[in-house]
Structures are given as structure tokens and as C-alpha cells.
Symmetry: C2
Subunit: 392 residues, 2 copies
């Protein structure tokens, strides 16, 4: 039969491939050609999953736990997460409000379908995780970007939210710690922001997938401030389970029934194997490993943020969480895509241009991920030093 010419849906017009993937693919090509590349582009921990979790996965497989679970997830894991909230945040979250999802992606998909109507607007930080705006486009809604900069620690001020809130705005999506910035919403700012949203009758989604990977004493969950917030979390980052595809969401109790129905339709259930494995993530032997890894990330953060400041990059005083530094390159270039391409081609250091994360001033920023060990970071900094000395 002859090939059809089809019109792609309008939502796809907005959807661009991630530049980080282009950087990664080029880095792999250069490695295949024999060069050593320092990877600071990829947003994935460089550790494989902690052994106690892997062993729990193997036990699940050996026991034949290979069938669908309930769409909400297995009760034991929902209870373990409820206990996690009680222990680490001092909040009581009923296990029935916790839904296990196929990654935080599954959670964002669930909340987009639950909360966002076609034609509505959703307030997002610029820069932010790029998938947020694409989920919103998928349902025919409008991402409403709120530019945030270093002067507000890359988190939104109530004044800027007020400025960008329109008559069709129905929601506000926040992330703390944020990607690509590694900054958090301090408790008082979180309170003020959620109160503002309450006054505007907006629903609020908070992405807390980098919780656990924080380097400050106080990182509040939005659930401590307003128990009716929609929270997304994940086993990928702190718990180091990226490839398993497992996350969770917390929903206000009156949404439980419709969220179950949505989950049945959208993905049936999360992986049974991953769910049984994740039970081990909350046990002591896992926690000891995960805390050691957090310490490694902290040491990398200390080294890299100091080195980048010394080289003339602009960055916040304190990277408070996640494993990213969103660094201003205004001392070197006003074209971050070219800057990243040159650094990769000529010096073998892979970093991500700001354009992946937003529109506002993004050509003046790059994202460094400290998802490689200190030796590699040191080598990366040496290469950057040569690159920047040569160029300027």
C-alpha cells in the first residue's frame, strides 16, 4: 500500500528532543572513537542499585512474584512509605493516599490527567524539568512559565507568581530540590507559596523526587505544610533505582477512587518485582549504603561548586540538593549550546545547555550533573580550566 501522509497532533509541535540526549549520543560517539569523555550531562546516579534492594528483587523473582499487582501498588510498600513520612517528616499520611507509580513519570502522567483540563494554564518555573511542559501540552493545556533566577535561589517569589497568574491558570507545579538548579524552597517560602496558591484556588503539585539527596538540615515536604498538596516522589534518585521504574504519589483522600481508576487505565500497575524490591530500600542495611552515597554526592557538590566559582561561573551560594549545578556562563559566552558543543568536542567534557530547561536566559546557562566520581570531576575541572584559559 502507498504510504499515508498524516498530520501530527498539535501537541507534538511543542515537543523537542532533549539536548542532553544529543550531547550524550555525541559523547558516546567520541568514546567509540577512543576519547575519554567526562560525563556531567546525565541526570542519573552513577551507582547501580544497592545490594540489599537487588537481593530483595531476586527473592521476589525466585518466589514467582511476577504478576500484576493492584493498580494502587502492594499494601506493604504503601505502608512502608507511610512509615517513611512519619519517621522523616513527622506527618501522618494514610497508606490509602499513597499510590505506587511506574516511575515519577507515571505520577506526572496521573496528575496531568487528574488535574489539568484542556485550555487551562499551569504555572511552572523557568528553568524546570523539561517533561513538565510536555505533559501539559499533551492534554491541550498551556504551560505558563515563571522566570526564576539566582536572586530568588531559582525558586518562584509570590510577586513573580502573581505577575504570571492568568484568568485560565488552574495549577502550580513546584520542585524542591529542583532540576536543573539543585535549590530548595525554604520552609517559610513554601508556606507562603502554598498560601498564595490556596488564595488563588490553584491546585499544587510538588515534585519531591530529589528528597533524600539534600545537603541542608531542613528540607520540608509540602505535605507538612498542606496535606492536600499533590506530591510526586520516586525510587530513582536517593534510592538509586532508576532502571526499575518505580515512584509514588500522595493524593488528598477524596481523590483516591478516581486516582485508582486512572491508574488502572494508564498503566494497570507498576512492576511487581520493583515493588517487592523497594520494600528493602527502607531497611537499615540499605539506609547505611544510601547515606554513604549521599555523603559522596555532598563531597562532589563541595568540590565542583567551589571549582566552578573559581573558574568564573555564576552559581548560587549553596547547592542544597539533587546532583545538579545550574551555572551562568555570562563571563564566557552568550550561546550555551555552542559553549557545550565546543567543550565536548575540544575538551571532552559533556554538559547540558540551559535550553533544555526553559526559555528565559537559557542561552546563558549550562547544567553540570555531579553524577560521576571525584577523580572524573577533578579531571573535568582541569579540562574546563584549560578550555576557559585558552578561550579568554
Amino acid at each position: 500500500m502507498s504510504r499515508k501522509k498524516l498530520q501530527l497532533p498539535s501537541r507534538l509541535v511543542h515537543m523537542e528532543p532533549f539536548r542532553v540526549m544529543t550531547v550524550l549520543q555525541r559523547a558516546i560517539q567520541l568514546e567509540a572513537a577512543g576519547r575519554k569523555i567526562i560525563h556531567m550531562e546525565v541526570g542519573e546516579p552513577d551507582f547501580s542499585t544497592a545490594r540489599p534492594i537487588v537481593e530483595a528483587g531476586i527473592r521476589a523473582l525466585d518466589s514467582g512474584l511476577t504478576q500484576y499487582t493492584a493498580a494502587e501498588g502492594i499494601v506493604e510498600l504503601r505502608e512502608a512509605i507511610s512509615a517513611h513520612y512519619a519517621k522523616h517528616y513527622g506527618v501522618q499520611i494514610d497508606r490509602d493516599r499513597i499510590f505506587i507509580t511506574p516511575g515519577a513519570s507515571g505520577g506526572l502522567l496521573l496528575f496531568t490527567n487528574l488535574l489539568v483540563n484542556a485550555g487551562e494554564g499551569v504555572l511552572l518555573c523557568d528553568p524546570a524539568y523539561p517533561c513538565y511542559r510536555n505533559y501539559i501540552y499533551m492534554v491541550g493545556a498551556e504551560p505558563q512559565l515563571v522566570p526564576v533566577g539566582i536572586e530568588t535561589n531559582f525558586q518562584p517569589s509570590v510577586a513573580s507568581l502573581n505577575k504570571h497568574c492568568k484568568s485560565n491558570t488552574s495549577g502550580l507545579w513546584l520542585a524542591s530540590p529542583g532540576n536543573p538548579t539543585g535549590t530548595i524552597l525554604q520552609r517559610n517560602d513554601l508556606v507562603e507559596t502554598l498560601e498564595w496558591a490556596e488564595g488563588k484556588k490553584l491546585n499544587v503539585l510538588v515534585d519531591e523526587i530529589y528528597h533524600g539527596l539534600h545537603y541542608v538540615d531542613d528540607l520540608p515536604s509540602a505535605l507538612e505544610v498542606d496535606t492536600d498538596t499533590f506530591v510526586v516522589n520516586s525510587f530513582s534518585k536517593y534510592f538509586g533505582m532508576t532502571g526499575w521504574r518505580l515512584g509514588w504519589v500522595v493524593v488528598p483522600s477524596e481523590y483516591q477512587e478516581i486516582v485508582s481508576t486512572l491508574a488502572q487505565n494508564l498503566y494497570i500497575s507498576a512492576s511487581s518485582i520493583a515493588q517487592y524490591a523497594a520494600l528493602a530500600a527502607f531497611e537499615e542495611d540499605s539506609s547505611a549504603i544510601l547515606e554513604q552515597r549521599r555523603d559522596s554526592f555532598r563531597r562532589r557538590r563541595d568540590f565542583l561548586s567551589t571549582a566552578l566559582k573559581g573558574l568564573g561561573f555564576t552559581l548560587p551560594d549553596d547547592i542544597q540538593g539533587a546532583f545538579y549545578i545550574y551555572a551562568g556562563i555570562e563571563n564566557f559566552s552568550d550561546d550555551s549550546e555552542k559553549f557545550c558543543a565546543d567543550i565536548l568536542e575540544e575538551h571532552g567534557v559533556a554538559i547540558t545547555p540551559g535550553r533544555d530547561f526553559g526559555e528565559s536566559d537559557s542561552s546563558l546557562f549550562v547544567r553540570f550533573a555531579f553524577t560521576t566520581d571525584l577523580d572524573n570531576l577533578q579531571l573535568g575541572v582541569e579540562r574546563l580550566t584549560r578550555a576557559l584559559r585558552k578561550a579568554h
Copy 2:
């Protein structure tokens, strides 16, 4: 803070919980109260995953293969699926046209976002898998139901498609073998249907997730007829990997780039562990087990379809695939929800009312799933015999 009252998006108005879940939950309650229930409601094979696949999963875990893969899936698995098409269907499908998805759910989500614009219509059989219409509602489009009955083997005729095709119709979704009917599109009907769609400039999605679980000699893939069809498949049914959440799609080559971008946004990647495990699904020791299981399903089909006909249910002459029988109850009742509830409460047999699958005459049908062993099926038929004798 005070609880917000939020307006749910309009797409959720259409979304009802699956009645099969209500049946299952009630069956579990009855079991907890000490009764033996014959489960013929659940659409999941009653075998856990074949040992060679489980062992490949354990090896993947032991090797630390616990990180994200490429959004398209691992090359080895895409190649294995390409070889599967060559071997079983005699078609050459380039591995780059094959994308690994988190279950067939992930594939349907991908295709909904790729192919269906808000305001458009998609032709679906009534009855059909209930998630189809909910995916279509999610993007603000319209499911256009084409009633199909026993006289056309529960597959659509070109005459009926013509009748229901409207000016806004942009797509046609088919399933062969179908759920809840277990019937297939014969090769000549498939050719005629795809030619009709070609003439109408509709894109065509064919759900082939029950391929492998068929009991006829010729079950063509739509890719044999039109290589530009959008095909969804799964490791859940024939390959027995439900809980792993793994499937695949095949797309025309000009869609590869946008499908990669969509996959990155929608789910990042499918489970790494499941992907490495699935490599073993195509090996000889797995195939031997899977073919034995297919034989078991065939024997169950033979027994159950003969028995149900004998009892006075109306069903097609030949259940050609999957593990379902969609049986007319017009000799017993015109209210299948009540019929199913009574049979469960009074006789301990769990079956699903037709209403889950469509609107047309659904109160006159129930779905039997032969996902339990012959002893149970025999006991179920004895109970049905008593139930129907008593009632009539």
C-alpha cells in the same frame, strides 16, 4: 489549610472504574470469609513467568543492570523482536522501527499522543478493551463505537465501518485476537479493512497483544498486510510477563524520531531488568514452556466453549485466540450485571459483565476468562449448571 474544592477535568467524567475490579474485590472478600471462588474474571495468565526468563532477570540484577536504558529500549531486544517477525510472520521489520514500552499500556499511551488530536474521532469496536476509549478521552478526542456482533465474529465489517465513519474520524483501532471476544480478523478481512482505512486516509492501530495465544493456523500480523500500520504488542500474555510491565510497538520509519522524543517524555525508558529478562523469552527453552502453556489454554478453550454452548450460552463457533469467551446470556437474563453478581454471590463463580467492554447490547453478554486450570473450570461449569437449572 482548608480543603480546596476542585473541578475535575472533563475527560474524567467518562472514566468509570472497571467492573471486573469490583467483581475481583468481592470475590476476594468471599474467599476471606471461607468460600471457594472459581475465578474466571481476571485477564491474566495463571502461570508465573517461565523459569528461563526469571533466571535471565536474576542475571541482569546480579550484573547490576539497574539503570535507565535508551528510551527506544536496548538494541539486543529490538533485534530479537525483529528476528521474531522474520521467523513467525516472514516480514522484515527494521529494529529501528521497534520501540520497547512499559507494557502495552505504554504503547497505547504513546500512540494516543502520537496519532490522536483533540476533537478528532477514532473508530473502535464495541465491545473492546475498555482502556482504548479512556485513552482517547484523555486527549480530548471522541471514541466512535462500531457495534460488532456474533454475525461478523465480533470484528468490524467494512459496511459497519463506513456507517460509523464521520467527517472528524482520523483513526481506526483494531484488535486481533480481541478482548473480550477472543476472535481474530481473518487475513482477507484484514486486507479489506486496511484498504478501506487507506482509502479514508485513516491511521490504523492494531493491538496484537494476544498473538501467540491463538488456536488457528493463520493469524496474520497487520504488518504483513500494510507495513505502515501502528502495531502494539506485549510480553504480558503469550510470554507470561504481566508483572514486569513490558511491551513493544512498531511504527513506520518516518515516525522514529518523534516517537523517541515522546518516549523520553512519557516514561524515560521501560524497566531495564524486564528488558534483559525478555531476551530469554525468544530462546528455545522458553519457547518449549510457552508452547506447552498455549496447549493448556487450547484444552481449556475446548472444554469451556463446549460446556457453555451446552448450557445455553450463545458464542461464536470458534474462539480463535486470547483466553476469553464473550458469551450471550439472552436465554437467562437481560441484565448481565445482576447475572454476574448473582452467580458470584450464590454460586461462587466470578465472571465479568459485558458493560466493561462497551455499550451495545452489553447487558446481554458476560466475559469468561479461562485463566484458571481445567479442574477449576470443571467445577465452575458444575456450579453454573446448578445455577441455571435452579433459575429456569
